[in-house]
Symmetry: C2
Subunit: 499 residues, 2 copies
């Protein structure tokens, strides 16, 4: 497979006196904290989006906040860019290194500083894994709600940087809704607390601004998260449909009835068959689409909701509706969904996962549009996604070894994201922009809006040293991409009429 | 009563050619849209915080977004400050006019543009009253959750500017959690959409940054709010206590048990007696404190929660626990709470309402501290507040006509806010900073942090024309106030040991 390298970003960075930098870093972070030999830095060349790879100049693994501050001060003094990362599981190349930059790896910060079960909060270091927080809170009957698919590996600092979501964010919100404050270091190595443990913080809401800013405004050194009481019980419905559009409409029906399920996921036939072959979850392989709907809360409530949702699904045209008869079946149904990406991966040498979000009412139309674009580009697309909150994850199946197929895949992916924008949605749901979708930002936003992003960036990092080249495109790049004629969601998308 | 005028802000503004400005504005906004005669502009001299008054140079009441844009462009071109306001019900002087500035009143924008009951959203103009949204949504079984006490009068544009809360924000969140996007005009008159109807908006979270920015970053011209299904039922518990600290601990017990009530309010004896005298709500006048706890949701659930909370309250030491026997009694109990401020106002010529928030675990200590400070300053303090989310509203009773009493009141209020910061809380819960608490911002934040606020402000409004002198203090002001030695919540507060 061909890996991508962005000459416009890496090529444009100023030259670095490599040896002097490494020597200085080793003085600040002695021992095995600075890696620079090719075989040591190579494993850090990409994050979860492996299509983009760049070998960093060096990797620093500091052990104390003072060391992180010292590294940042050094970088600021010498004008060297810094890319911070946690576990590196992101899917948009947000933590992709720079060949003339420091990769600052926060994985040694794995201490759970304090849990206060009465207040329902935990203070943790940024390298603590998402799932580890819930495990530590479990003895108190509490858990941390956001659950990205990578939750076993991804760390909370990266969750903050990407404003991570997950299956349950429909009901429980994204990272920004589940944190109280974040301690950061600025590029000058100054520590600041954003947010407050109390209700609302005065002044501008810098915590929300920071959350999802993809490492461009500062480096997370501590996070205070909210813990929620574990729901008394969870039950799962599976509904099958003879066409995807009816399934899309059923989703709107459930939410429209005022029910907010713990999770509401949709898979189309290609995804169903792939998952069933791989996991044997018990999915109906002839169905054109299934919906998986989990309801959680007090048992008496959940039973009432299960009855209500079953009725809504039947009324919406479901061919069949079943309730998982026990916990084992519920977990099996989830296992199929959670392994759908690797399952689809078995059908094809490569697959490309897209992450766009749309208003729920547009689900049926966007699914029609994806099907039409799929035949037009001659590439199969499987759909597995968080239907409840309109977060689409179309997977394009392709073979990178076939000449031109990667380029065609990228063109199709871009087209699908533009379709999301055209119906009033956005180019990302939960994976972030990173390096991957920097061009699509030009579709999503006007040049005025992009200038505001740059002004905000400059307020925190005027020398552009923190994760440059990600998240916010330059206006020059947008002009090259040729998309600056659009206005916020008002993209001319002539095909829209057809879908 | 003596009104306050801030020489450092109004006096420092450059002189304005008044006649030329009014003539130009009248060309842009013909008819009765520009007010400048003393008797016409006088009614706009303050917002809900009547201690501060300034007569604006002129008042503009535009009718179209194009007119608002034209006024802003004119102001930007001539360097004239603009204070935007909606209904002017704010309690921190955020919408206080400037004597050399334009007061831009958005009250003519009262159209509900669209309601989409399936998506659960409403698009409204900024002058629409908070309660009018819920009234318009009611036929669909939906409502808009944030409910500040002023909800009958306050408008959604102001709610966005102040990130308004209310009795129910413990369960349903603040304004920022209940809006999807906001259309704003920048100081240059450019229209921008912040946020998205879909799950998450890429780039920095400018919607959250804007919400609560108190008119310093732009002018709201349209808001898309979330609508929620009306809870099936609501029931109310009242618990009385022989001391306020036990009541404070009971609050922590309820939340710690994983129950999030629709509302959880506390009143102390002074407030109970005042409200009972005024409203005859049926409060126990001998109790040192009462808690009012509303539970809402599906009936079966609410009944279960009522039983559970009753048990928790008794276990926590409540002297008596009763359940409102019907809707009439529930509404009567709420009426006492909602009229507690005017009720306390009947006890004294003047009262000063404080708005601070604290971590819930500190409730008992802060109540002790307020009592100690109250005797020290020789001023009575009534406590009526949103206990569930730690949002305190101490009311200081005083007589402005007694020499020195206003100054003593302000000193006590400042001390109480500093106590909130010292225990890890903040100087505002839901009223905002405005003009009132600009000095306390110097206590809450370090100079580094305040510099960041200024940099963010400059990204939107480099010439400082939007609502100058509110929300974010200058470093010079902080130096004068003498508070720059503190560090974020680590204020030296020697009295703390005593409480």
């Amino acid at each position: 497979m061909n890996f991508k390298y962005d000459e416009r970003i890496d090529g444009a960075l100023p030259p670095v006196d490599r040896d002097a930098l490494i020597e200085a870093l080793e003085r600040l972070c002695p021992g095995m904290q600075v890696l620079h030999e090719p075989e040591h830095v190579r494993p850090f060349e990409c994050d979860g989006l492996s299509a983009y790879r760049t070998v960093p100049l060096c990797v620093v693994l500091p052990e104390t906040v003072e060391q992180v501050a010292a590294v940042l001060k050094l970088a600021a003094a010498r004008g060297i860019p810094v890319v911070a990362r946690g576990a590196g599981t992101g899917l948009s190349g947000g933590a992709l290194p720079l060949e003339k930059g420091i990769l600052l790896v926060m994985s040694k910060f794995k201490r759970i500083v304090a849990i206060d079960p009465v207040a329902g909060i935990a203070r943790v270091e940024p390298g603590v894994r998402n799932l580890a927080i819930s495990q530590a809170a479990a003895p108190h009957g509490l858990y941390y709600a956001p659950d990205p698919s990578s939750q076993i590996a991804c760390s909370i600092g990266g969750n903050v940087a990407e404003n991570a979501g997950g299956v349950h964010c429909l009901k429980y919100g994204l990272t920004v809704h589940n944190i109280l404050n974040v301690d950061i270091l600025t590029i000058d190595g100054e520590r600041m607390t954003l947010g407050a443990e109390s209700l609302d913080s005065p002044g501008f809401d810098l915590l929300a601004l920071f959350t999802g800013s993809e490492g461009m405004l500062g480096v997370v050194v501590e996070v205070t998260v909210k813990l929620l009481p574990k729901p008394q019980c969870a039950k799962m419905l599976m509904a099958s449909f003879n066409d995807v559009e009816t399934a899309g409409k059923a989703v709107a029906g459930i939410i429209g009835a005022g029910i907010i399920p713990g999770g509401l996921e949709m898979m189309d036939n290609l995804a169903i068959r792939a998952a069933e072959d791989f996991i044997h979850a018990g999915y109906p392989v002839d169905a054109e689409a299934i919906l998986l709907c989990e309801l959680d809360g007090a048992e008496i409530d959940v039973d009432e909701d299960i009855a209500h949702v079953s009725q809504l699904l039947r009324a919406a045209g479901a061919a069949n509706v079943t309730v998982a008869k026990d916990e084992a079946e519920r977990l099996r149904l989830w296992a199929g969904r959670k392994n759908a990406f690797p399952a689809v991966g078995r059908l094809s040498p490569d697959y490309y996962c897209i992450d766009g979000s749309i208003p729920r009412r547009e689900l049926a139309r966007v699914l029609r549009g994806i099907a039409a674009l799929s035949s037009e580009y001659g590439l199969r697309v499987a759909n597995v996604f968080h239907a409840g909150d309109g977060n689409m994850h179309p997977l394009i199946l392709f073979d990178a070894n076939q000449p031109g197929e990667l380029a065609r895949t990228e063109a199709l992916a871009g087209k699908i994201l533009e379709l999301c924008v055209a119906v009033g949605g956005s180019i990302t749901g939960e994976h972030g922009v990173g390096r991957e979708k920097i061009n699509q930002m030009c579709v999503q936003f006007t040049s005025d809006e992009i200038e505001f992003f740059h002004a905000v960036k400059a307020a925190f990092d005027p020398a552009q040293l923190l994760n440059p080249g990600k998240n916010i495109p330059t206006l020059h790049r947008c002009a090259e991409f040729g998309a600056m004629h659009v206005h916020h969601g008002q993209l001319p998308f002539p095909e829209l009429e057809r879908f």
